[in-house]
Amino acid sequence: MNKENSPFPGFDWAETQRRFLDAVSAMGAGREQSNPWQQALEFWWQRALPSVSDDQGVLGNLLRQSQALFGINEQFGDLLKEMVSCEPSDDWQAILDKHLDRLKAHFMDLSKRGAPSTSPWQEPLDTWARTLSWLSLLSPTPDAGGNYGFPDLPSLGGSRGFQQRQLHAMELWRAYLEKLQDYHAEMARVGARAVDQLRDRILAMGEGGKKITSLRELYDLWTDCCEQAFGDEVMTDAYAELYSAVVNALVEFKQHSQMMVEEILGALDLPTRTGLDTMQRRQHEMRREIRSASERESENMRAIADLKQELETLRRELSTRSADGKPKEGE
């Protein structure tokens, strides 16, 4: 595969592969690299992943998860190095505790700061961000420094009323960010609980004589622990309140923003959402009335047809009788 038939526009696949393999073979050339395969793969992700946008769906998800797999190697790299090199007489559980405590401390630190976490705990936060990204005029995800800028809102001028509404918008945005921070903090605590689950399961495997023989098995185990911890969290009342608080806060901000936009559109004598809603509601009500009237008319027509039938029957019967009501002769 080369630049012409690569799935990534303008991306020379063959050249990238060649450079990647050169980097990997450099490991065998005795050059000192603290984490050589990771460095080689970083090159890969630097070239491949930026070419894949969120719009590329399955492709993007596959590459991101592959990166997560290799991230496992990085995240647990020190742990793995010590664990595989420890002697049978060494206290492997103490080694495990040392590294997992460090990972857990990372999550607890994040929970204090209310900051979003990094891979491989990124999934619920990514998913959350995607869930809410269309709810807001702007994406709620932070910049590289973890900061949320205040969204730019259109402003036409300095009327006191409009300025007050802008101030209120800023208050609503701040309220939303506070809720989001609370959510990130709780997610970090859940991450810490996932680490505890991981510890318990590894210890259980050790007691049961089961082995972790591949990076993929470790990835699957970590994923399972994360899913379990997150699943337990989702069913708590506290999470339901937190989730609703974030959603309601963001929608409230969006509603206020819409109102400000409507004010501007109204000042420019342009159609507004409220105006269109009113038209649609009236149109809908008219359709219902027309359908209802049509159904009543159909019923009335059926009733009239029945009455005509009955009248015709009575006429026929009447024609067979004389003036005194008795049947005519021969009838």
Partner: protein, 354 residues
Amino acid sequence: MNPFALDAESVTREILEFNSRLAGVLGRLGNLNGVEPGASEKEAVYREDKLVLYRFKPRTQAQHPVPVLIVYALVNRPYMADLENGRSLVQGMLDAGLDVYLIDWGYPDQADRYLTLDDYINGYLDRCVDQVRQHATADRINLLGICQGGTFSLCYTALHPEKVHNLITTVTPVDFQTPNDALSHLVRNVDIDLCVDTLGNIPGDLLTWTFLMLKPFRLMGQKYMDLSDILDDPARAANFMRMEKWIFDSPDQAGEAYRQFIRDFYQQNALIKGSVQIGDQSVDLQNITVPVLNIYARDDHLVPPDAAKALGGCIGSQDYTEMEFPGGHIGIYVSTRAQEMLPPAIADWVKQRG
């Protein structure tokens, strides 16, 4: 005993092998063909607004005289029931000699903002039922509801019992507040009026991400790692892509219908309490006296078994049958086991009741 049996060499080998596989996968993904869903031939027999009523082409010489109308949910697209050859509830039912119809609700837009549950159930659904009765020359029909479509079917049968012969519900929520219902738990405190008043129609993407958020690590992460294991097999790869298409092909939800469904069914649990109003009519599940087959999925995390099984204690029918499927909410339609279990069971049950 130390459970870690990895070493630097094995990890390196694993990464290199994975990387090679990934490179091959990326090429094959771009060359996948034939991933459009839909296995069975069908014709449109009625259209109204965005809705299309389909009749599937029979696959047997003779069909059971009472037709089956499949009522799908508003959420997601109905081709899940007819995903591909060999993984199609519709195909299985056709092969069992049933005459199958299906409502495709379409993709609501802003013009549908004020559609209510009354419009859907006493309007669209009732007119579709009349169309099927006319088309199949049947006084009454069999209704088969899927998930929310099952809830609609229950409401419809309670309000129009004279038009329904038998009722089949599959993974259908009846009690929306059982202890292990994560979805219900999530929306309990959401200000649904604020959401609908602000957003109008509810974007399909919101619902997609909400469902995925219930199991984010598995559904947004690990699943794609599994993909790298199956892409060598074009058929399995195509299956995966069809499912992906369905998962991310969620229609927007008409605002007023969504408001009522979430508020009345999820937040107030009104169906099982007997206080749902559709239009100016109350829905009393005791009015359902026709035979009912209630199929639920044992491992369903969206409609827990208890949420569906609650139906048994609510209806007036003397002929009520439950059936457990050993799988999940989606597996009940697309898994191999489902194809072996469900269509024959449904067909047998229907035929036994005329």
